[in-house]
């Protein structure tokens, strides 16, 4: 049985202005099922946002892309950006961090959602207005508020409006790129509750892109941890926290402060490697507290470890206690 969304060996390269190429996404693969919530998590520059822009066909012209994006088994990337377009918003919708950028400031919220419906031939006139009302209510905005302009909304309400707009064409996958990063913790909780309800009630699949591990831990079923352009570990969120199989996952959790945990968080020394030159060995070996000889020479591949789990670390080949 195939998944709703399958991303296979996605690669993205950027031409740099001063020559050279940056290999921003390096062979990323993952799957997403109906109603499932996957957290794509990592720090700045790890390639998580580039990955989703790539699979939505939203990369700038300076980018080169390879790989397959299968939606219900059909490769929507086969014809390049052109072949993704009919699926964007209709099957795959996206919500960005700054909701202000997603909304047109000179149009009422209702008018722009109605326009989206009309452009896609889903409804017009009175039917469109009725549908907009439903959409707004489904994200917790009173119908009549649709007659206001985006600047009259608070940050949380704008993000809700952006979600309503994303839902206009009944997509099966919602991609949310740092949807709560600019929001206060209480408003964040409101938006996370909303996303949770949308997945539960409408079977929406969520691809949540974030740097915030606790948000993923609380909202997602599975998570893929990205580092230096690749997925280094992948599995159910509970397993990633309680039994990480890549040192980066373990250290990233240890660097994350927690309300009730004992002890202070510990930072990870060093910085990620540059992606504009070929990587030798494991991309994490210079910062890893358990690196050994092989890690400096040979790049570990993402390997299945059973039970929906995978990690790209040589330690998983070594019997416990040897290194």
């Amino acid at each position: 049985m195939s998944s709703l969304l399958e991303v296979e060996e996605l690669n993205v390269w950027f031409d740099l202005p001063h020559g050279g190429t940056l290999h921003a996404v390096q062979g990323v693969s993952f799957t997403l099922d109906r109603g499932e919530r996957l957290g794509l998590v990592g720090e700045s520059g790890c390639g998580k946002s580039t990955t989703v822009l790539g699979l939505l066909g939203l990369l700038p012209p300076s980018a080169e892309l390879s790989g397959r994006v299968l939606l219900d088994g059909v490769d929507i990337l086969a014809g390049g950006e052109e072949s993704v377009r009919p699926h964007r918003w209709v099957d795959l919708a996206i919500v960005f961090q700054g909701a202000m950028n997603a909304l047109n400031p000179v149009q009422t919220v209702q008018a722009q959602i109605a326009e989206a419906l009309e452009v896609h031939g889903l409804a017009s006139g009175r039917a469109a207005r009725a549908r907009v009302g439903e959409l707004l209510e489904s994200v917790g905005i009173p119908r009549e508020r649709g007659e206001r302009y985006p600047h009259e909304f608070s940050g949380g309400m704008r993000q809700r409006a952006a979600i309503a707009m994303a839902l206009a064409c009944n997509p099966s996958v919602l991609v949310a790129d740092e949807p709560t990063t600019a929001l206060d913790v209480m408003v964040q909780a409101q938006i996370l509750e909303l996303l949770d309800a949308l997945c539960r009630d409408f079977g929406l699949a969520l691809l949540l892109v974030t740097h915030d591990l606790p948000v993923v831990a609380q909202l997602c079923d599975r998570s893929a941890v990205m580092y230096a352009g690749e997925i280094v570990e992948h599995g159910p969120v509970d397993a990633l926290f309680h039994d990480p199989r890549h040192p980066y996952t373990r250290l990233l959790f240890a660097a994350t402060p927690d309300l009730h945990a004992n002890g202070a968080p510990v930072s990870i020394p060093g910085a990620p490697p540059r992606l504009d030159r070929p990587l030798v060995g494991c991309p994490f070996h210079e910062r890893c507290d358990r690196a050994f000889g092989r890690c400096t020479l040979e790049r570990p591949l993402l390997r299945g470890l059973g039970g929906e789990r995978a990690a790209a670390c040589h330690l998983n080949d070594v019997p416990a206690g040897v290194v």
Partner: protein, 332 residues
């Protein structure tokens, strides 16, 4: 100068921002409206102590920090630094004190001048305050400051420019520039929120070491998890007031104010098994122009009683921690 008193004492501080009425408003003689950004708050800070002011955007935490440093003028109240009332001190008299109180900002990409080398960045405060002596002595102080923020060996960093540094290194340079004058008070406004998670802890550990060395730190943050780990005391602000204050552990483990309780309940935990039962408040805080009467939190409070609409509660001892206080008639 005495050094046995409190480093910083803030008493009933009020800061208002007038809202421009516009031409029509002025002509119609509409009453001047004000944003009551800080609406009567009191707190103190000791040497070697880190106090975290936490709250959501618009609660007045940043205005409080700026007013403490006299970067914003208060309407009323009193600010005493090391026993000296600085509330209305003229700039000239304030200047020697400014050396002793410094600030670091959220965004090290904006706060550092891209044209200045690390060395020039750190030496600039010395030049402004005519401190540091000869050129050689200044260079020595800069090197020393870099070592204190763990950018070592200093020679590796002195000649670099901000664009050659990572986010964490930039924030360390900003901290070096703020401690080179040997201040006693450091205001840190969201010092790590722009940094990657993997480097945040290092910068916070650095602030912690400076605190242990005797620096008093007033940290502004929206991140309760960070405050819980690094602050000695936490003051929770809501709509221009401190609604609860006390030892960090006591606030986190035994919150007394309904707002603090709700806020703590929605902080995502990193362990998926610790799925919190979030107590999500509806809506958002009203703006600070129309502050509700009585307890300013009552319209959103899940446990409000009729009295809460009338009584504006003061901070009173509550909970088990030493010095734990809450502004709620139901707490205690």
């Amino acid at each position: 100068m005495s050094s046995n008193g409190r480093l910083l004492e803030v008493d009933d501080l009020v800061v208002h921002y007038p809202i421009p009425r516009g031409l029509f408003g002025s002509a119609a003689r509409r009453p001047q409206q004000v944003v009551r950004a800080v609406d009567g708050i009191s707190f103190s800070l000791e040497r070697g102590e880190l106090l975290a002011l936490v709250g959501e955007s618009g609660c007045g935490k940043t205005t409080t920090a700026q007013t403490v440093l006299r970067l914003v003028e208060p309407v009323s109240g009193r600010i005493a630094f090391d026993g000296t009332d600085i509330t209305t001190l003229p700039n000239r008299a304030l200047r020697p004190l400014r050396k002793r109180m410094q600030i670091i900002y959220q965004d090290p990409y904006e706060s550092l001048d891209p044209r200045l080398s690390v060395r020039a960045t750190i030496e600039e405060p010395l030049l402004i305050h005519h401190a540091g002596g000869s050129k050689r002595e200044r260079a020595e102080l800069a090197r020393d400051a870099l070592e204190r923020v763990e950018l070592t060996p200093p020679e590796l960093f002195l000649g670099r420019y901000p664009h050659e540094l990572s986010g964490g290194q930039r924030q360390r340079v900003a901290i070096a520039a703020s401690i080179v004058l040997g201040p006693e008070l450091l205001v840190a406004d969201e010092p790590v929120s722009m940094l990657d998670v993997s480097v945040r802890a290092g910068v916070l550990a650095l602030l912690d070491r400076l605190r242990k060395g005797g620096l008093g730190i007033l940290m502004i943050t929206h991140d309760l998890s960070t405050a819980a780990r690094f602050a000695d005391r936490i003051a929770v602000m809501y709509l221009g007031r401190i609604v609860e204050e006390g030892p960090a552990a006591s606030i986190v483990d035994d919150p007394q104010h309904p707002y603090t309780k709700a806020l703590l309940s929605v902080v995502p935990r990193r362990d998926p098994r610790e799925r919190s039962r979030p107590q999500i408040l509806k809506g958002e805080a009203p703006d600070a122009v129309r502050i509700p009467p009585g307890c300013r939190f009552h319209p959103r409070c899940p446990v409000a009683i009729p009295d809460c609409r009338e009584i504006d509660p003061a901070l009173e001892p509550a909970g088990s921690g030493h010095g734990h206080r809450a502004a709620c008639i139901l707490a205690g």
